[in-house]
């Protein structure tokens, strides 16, 4: 009987396990939607300023938001920025933030954690103490400090978050490695004379990477929320930048409308807020599904 290549079989099995979970289907569907929007942003919402597509177009400077109409499909924010445009290009910004922060934090964290876990001893002590210093810094305080020092901007926020987020990955990978380090197959590799570097790269990391993947997928969502919060308090993206948090910031004064019609400006907050919620939900569902799929205790039934 002709069988598929084993890697293909493994992949099929993993996909089966992931998609057993209805949450996963919703999560991946949402993610697919966001990816499509991000990829086709120039087509869906043609940029007005060709050199800087992230600046939302605005006609006029009136502070009162306008409700959805023919020219502005989802209305405008305070300052007449087009909400639809902002939502579409904000997707790209969200992915940018997520990938940058998770990527940098993940790489740094895994590297340091792997060294710390595998070698133990003084390396472990030193690295762990350095990490402890990082743990003492609250994320938001550090971000604010950096912004205050270097000026506002989404890039500064991303750097600040990356600097702080790697500490989680160090812990996770270190604990995985401590478990794996004394396993027989690692000892067998040592007996065969395989160098430490190769053991870490080929044996340990492929086995230890699952919790990291799960964490990374959850972080994609939570980083976007943190960045959104910083933008909301005015520390992140500049005014008019296509960023969901920035758009919520613009809606600050209009969350509750005049007493006789409190929900008049619902679109200013619901649209960007809804985007954030759905984005984070998508990643959380995916993270949950991955965790269920990769849990070695229930994986192979």
């Amino acid at each position: 009987m002709k069988q598929d290549h084993p890697r293909l079989r493994e992949l099929k099995f993993t996909l089966h396990r992931i998609f057993r979970n209805p949450g996963a289907i919703i999560g991946f569907a949402l993610l697919g939607f966001f990816v499509t929007v991000a990829v086709f942003a120039p087509q869906i919402a043609p940029p007005k300023y060709a050199h800087n597509p992230y600046m939302m177009p605005h006609k006029g400077f009136s502070p009162t938001p306008k409700p959805p109409n023919k020219t502005n499909i989802l209305g405008t924010t305070s300052g007449q920025y087009d909400i639809f445009y902002g939502a579409v290009w904000g997707t790209r910004t969200a992915f940018k933030i997520g990938i940058f922060v998770v990527g940098i934090a993940g790489l740094v964290g895994v590297f340091l954690g792997a060294l710390s876990g595998y070698y133990g001893g003084i390396t472990d002590e030193v690295l762990m103490r350095v990490t402890d210093v990082m743990w003492a810094l609250p994320t938001l305080v550090l971000a604010m400090a950096l912004v205050v020092a270097f000026g506002r901007g989404l890039d500064k926020v991303m750097i600040a978050l990356a600097m702080v987020q790697w500490r989680w990955y160090v812990r996770v990978i270190r604990s995985e490695i401590l478990t794996l380090r004394d396993q027989d197959f690692i000892q067998a590799a040592k007996i065969m004379g395989v160098s430490d570097r190769k053991i870490i790269l080929h044996h340990i990391l492929p086995n230890a990477i699952y919790p990291i993947l799960i964490m990374a997928s959850m972080d994609m969502g939570s980083m976007v929320i943190t960045a959104a919060f910083l933008s909301f308090v005015g520390l992140g993206a500049p005014r008019g930048y296509a960023d969901w948090g920035q758009m919520v910031a613009l809606a600050r004064n209009y969350i509750v409308g005049p007493p006789e019609d409190p929900l008049r400006f619902w679109y200013t907050i619901v649209v960007p807020g809804g985007c954030i919620v759905l984005f984070v939900l998508a990643w959380n569902l995916i993270g949950d599904a991955l965790r269920d799929a990769f849990d070695p205790k229930i994986r192979r039934r």
Binding site: P6, Q183, D184
Partner: protein
């Protein structure tokens, strides 16, 4: 017979760090002074219960661990005393450069954890070969297939993951990996304990035939006395980090000297309804290797201990040709056992 390995006063202690200042307060004395000679081409059995240090001896011998004291002498092919090398104090990288790394290999107990679950079989077996020689492509694959065939598997099994095989097959793969570098000496750490009875005999027969075909020397570590009787020519018994008796296997089973050996032998469940066991049931549990008893380590559980045993540690002394035991009452033990427990049906 020429020697291949010689252990002199080998010790392996694991420090216990305690206190605020992280000092060494005590140590787990896993191996506490072992002298052993291993001859080329033989299969030496090493038996004992959990915590006696037999696995640690095996792993330290091939330099997976660094010995705390003592020497491990490796004799090159000519068996000349001048050619011996203390691999205990040689750096691991030097061992690799000298080519000795590939000559000392090991097969682990549990084939589920001794193979990387994320690697294909082809890669698992290729790994040790690639460390030694720069072989790739077709040549490498042919060599791997030859190894698989030696252990009773085939080319079809190359592109699969370990979890797709049964326990016995996985252990065969582990054996193939161990012999991939043409070793001289292989430590077999309970290779059949995790396997079913019917598979056990397959693997034991395989190991026996490989030993003859490839001229291997084995150290067979196990707690299963009947298996060791089947496969080894000489057997050593360990208790709490020291060797208490060593003899040709037939002698050990028929004319054991040390009381612990008697207890072990009488404890084996025999699959024979005629055999009515008269067990020497030892009192108490195996003491911890952190604080071994004074004098003879076995004295708290020994049914024949005297005052001398509490104060003075016995050394391994010869009782018969090739048969050594560490017991103050070695000449009387057989009589004592018969008195107290009646005639054992052997």
């Amino acid at each position: 017979m020429e020697k291949i390995l010689e252990l002199r006063r080998l010790k392996k202690h694991y420090p216990i760090i305690g206190g605020v200042l992280r000092r060494e307060v005590n140590a787990v004395k896993a191996v506490d002074g072992v002298d052993l000679d291993i001859y080329r081409g033989e299969c030496l059995g090493l038996v004992g219960e959990s915590g006696c240090g037999k696995t640690t001896v095996g792993k330290t011998m091939i330099r997976l661990y660094h010995p705390t004291h003592g020497s491990i002498y490796y004799y090159g092919k000519n068996g000349d005393a001048a050619e011996r090398l203390d691999i205990g104090s040689t750096k691991r990288s030097t061992l690799k450069n000298l080519g000795i790394r590939g000559r000392l290999q090991m097969v682990f107990q549990d084939p589920t954890t001794s193979l990387d679950p994320r690697m294909l079989i082809k890669r698992i077996i290729a790994e040790p070969i690639r460390e030694q020689v720069n072989l790739t492509g077709r040549g490498l694959e042919d060599r791997i297939v030859r190894l698989l065939e030696l252990v009773g598997l085939s080319r079809d099994h190359l592109l699969r993951y370990p979890h797709e095989f049964s326990g016995g097959q996985r252990q065969r793969i582990a054996v193939a990996r161990a012999i991939a570098t043409d070793p001289e000496f292989v430590v077999l750490d309970e290779p059949t304990s995790a396997l079913d009875v019917s598979v056990q005999s397959q693997i034991l027969n395989l190991l026996k035939s490989l030993q003859q075909r490839l001229n291997l020397t084995y150290l067979f570590v196990t707690h299963h006395l009947l298996v060791v009787k089947y496969i080894s020519e000489r057997t050593a018994v360990m208790y709490l980090g020291k060797i208490v008796e060593i003899a040709p296997t037939a002698d050990l089973f028929s004319r054991a000297v040390h009381p612990y050996t008697h207890a072990l032998l009488s404890g084996i469940p025999i699959p024979d309804v005629e055999h009515k066991p008269r067990r020497i049931v030892l009192s108490g549990d195996v003491p911890s290797p952190v604080n071994p008893p004074q004098g003879c380590r076995f004295h708290p559980r020994c049914p024949f201990a005297t005052e001398r045993c509490q104060n003075e540690a016995p050394s391994l002394e010869e009782v018969d040709t090739g048969h050594r035991a560490a017991c103050h009452r070695k000449w009387e033990v057989e009589e004592l056992v018969r008195e107290k427990f009646g005639d054992q049906i052997r």
